[in-house]
Amino acid sequence: MVMSKHRGSDAVSFRLTGSELAFSVLDKLYSLASRSSERDLVKYILELKETIMSERPASMAALNMLRQVGLYILRHGFSGVDRYILELKEKYKNALERAAEVLSRRVTGGETLLTNSNSLAVRRVLEHLAKQGKTIKLYITESRPGNEGLLLAEYAESLGFEVYLIVDSAARFFMKNVDKVVVGAEAVASNGAVVSKVGTSLIALVAKEARKRVFVVAPTAKFSPETLHGELLKLPEYDWRKLVSEEEASKLPENYVARVPLYDVTPPEYIDAIATEYGLFAPQALPLVLNLIEKSEYVLSKPLEDVIAGLRTLVEGGSV
């Protein structure tokens, strides 16, 4: 098991959504930046990068946060890094909020939405809709593996929405009752393709077939600058043994073998728009838009590998 080899293991669970993972990374970095030595902080960043790359290589928000903190250290040294981490966290929180608000405006009261998994961005959208007093109906797929759909159903129920929980296989059956599909993202590639919980691409295909619109809520921190240079996003597959309890395992057939992908890629042509903190864009326009926006550090940033190499030199050269 790769996780246990790294100190960062507690911060990287597949149960965390992409945004929750990013927040947990920032919290951990902040506590190290304010309490530990500079060397420990840099070493932790190096370790965490390895852990994320092996367990959650598609979780762009967390990787982008590491990149930003690493870049700060390379450019400005360690003074003020704790404050910078807090700023990043605040900014990401606001970006999530703004993106959700942008999307919530696209939803009219009385509409029926379909979503999967338990995206933090989608939860924010639901909060905005509740605040705006819009009554909506919500179909939620249970979202195997993981069944995070149950968590979202509980949350949507607590906000007072009418919630229908369905199996993943029933998306096409109910799509005719749905007005819009709203999903979150782990990563957005430079061609506008969206990495999200496995099953999202099938839902988007089914929505397109039924001429229903598909919206993705993704703050720009989900954008992968590496894909601009031709890098492929890596999609992790999970060890199925870790997904079943002992009781469940006893019910499985002999010699059981399973493949458990956690994410899949939805092509841009199945997505009507991506809601970001800067507004709503066609997925294909996102890299262009980000380049035009001065503040879009994620696009203009150095490749993560360069930042990591810089930090490694710091550690190996004994400067920290």
Binding site: E142, S143, V167, F174, V206
Partner: protein, 329 residues
């Protein structure tokens, strides 16, 4: 009230509670129940009384599952033997004989489909199947024995995990099989050469009613230009759909999806559990029957050839399946 033999009641509740499942097994179980009912009939030795009794057994069986057409088709097939019976003992014998004939013919049909289906699979193929269809498993196993199958993806098939049954049968025959969550179908479909699935009901326009999820598997396959084959014995074809009847999709208990405790804690979440969905004929490359490989749109040919006379009785009973007319009461 009519008294039914214990074994007949057991079969009826076995079908209702899904202990007996799969369209073929349900059909054969129903034929067997009619055979037992005829053999253990203890009422008046009168032709009309016997016919009435058999009709009520037939209705009891049909009421157990609304969607699977194999069930009424098996009942129609077996009870039709009563049409020409002239005496009580002749009637009883003919029901027993016809039931046995149905059971052996249906087993023969599956065997024939496995041979025809295996021929459609090219060498080095990867196959994906959804749910558990014993006919699909036989086709895949036959193709594997002929050295044409390198890998099979089997969906776990929520909520009841019938994919695990598929996994067990295939893996026992040595077929290399990998289970995937239902949500991962599009993720793997580029690796897949053929989707092979069974059918619960084939409508007269060639639409296929099968386990929930089949239609989105077929859609993902079409998008990836992967061929979709449906394997279906002729008793899966629905005569009622030809006269405009809609296939009723059964919803089952939410407790199949989430535990009761969860439901009690979340009273405002409605869990919807439809069992079947409809795959339109344009997503299906062929339906493989015991009579050969047909385009789905030609489903009506099978209906007319196999069940033409039933269609006439349906017309005269205003589109309802009236077993009294089937037995000429």
């Amino acid at each position: 009230m009519t008294m039914y033999p214990q074994r007949v009641l057991e079969i009826a509740s076995g079908i209702r509670e899904m202990k007996i499942r799969g369209a073929g097994r349900i059909a054969r179980a129903a034929a067997d129940a009619l055979r037992v009912a005829a053999l253990e009939y203890s009422g008046e030795r009168d032709l009309v009384a016997f016919k009435k009794y058999m009709v009520s057994v037939g209705e009891l069986l049909i009421s157990t599952r609304p969607t699977a057409v194999s069930l009424p088709n098996a009942v129609i097939y077996v009870l039709s033997s009563l049409r020409s019976a002239r005496s009580f003992s002749e009637a009883r014998e003919s029901v027993v004989e016809q039931a046995e004939k149905f059971i052996s013919e249906s087993e023969e049909a599956t065997k024939r489909i496995s041979q025809i289906g295996a021929r459609r699979v090219k060498e080095n193929s990867t196959i994906l199947t959804h749910c558990h269809s014993s006919t699909a498993v036989r086709v895949i196993t036959e193709a594997y024995k002929q050295g044409r199958v390198v890998k099979v993806y089997s969906t776990e098939t929520r909520p009841a995990y019938q994919g695990r049954i598929t996994f067990t049968y295939l893996s026992r025959s040595g077929v290399p099989v990998v289970q995937i969550p239902d949500s991962a179908v599009r993720y793997v479909i580029n690796e897949v050469d053929y989707v092979i699935v069974g059918a619960d009901t084939v409508a007269s326009n060639g639409a296929v009613v099968n386990k929930i999820g089949t239609s989105q598997v077929a859609l993902a396959a079409k998008e990836a230009r992967t061929r979709v084959y449906v394997v279906a014995e002729s008793y899966k074809f629905s005569p009622l759909t030809l006269i405009g009847e809609l296939v009723t999709i059964e919803y089952r208990s939410p407790e199949e999806v989430v535990p009761r405790e969860w439901l009690e804690k979340h009273p405002r979440v409605k869990v919807l559990n439809p069992v079947f969905d409809v795959t339109p004929p344009e997503y299906i490359d062929a339906i493989i029957t015991e009579h050969g490989v047909i385009p789905p749109q030609a489903a009506v040919l099978i209906l007319i050839e196999k069940l033409g006379w039933v269609l006439d009785t349906l017309e005269s009973s205003e589109g309802r399946l009236d077993l009294n007319r089937i037995v000429a009461l």
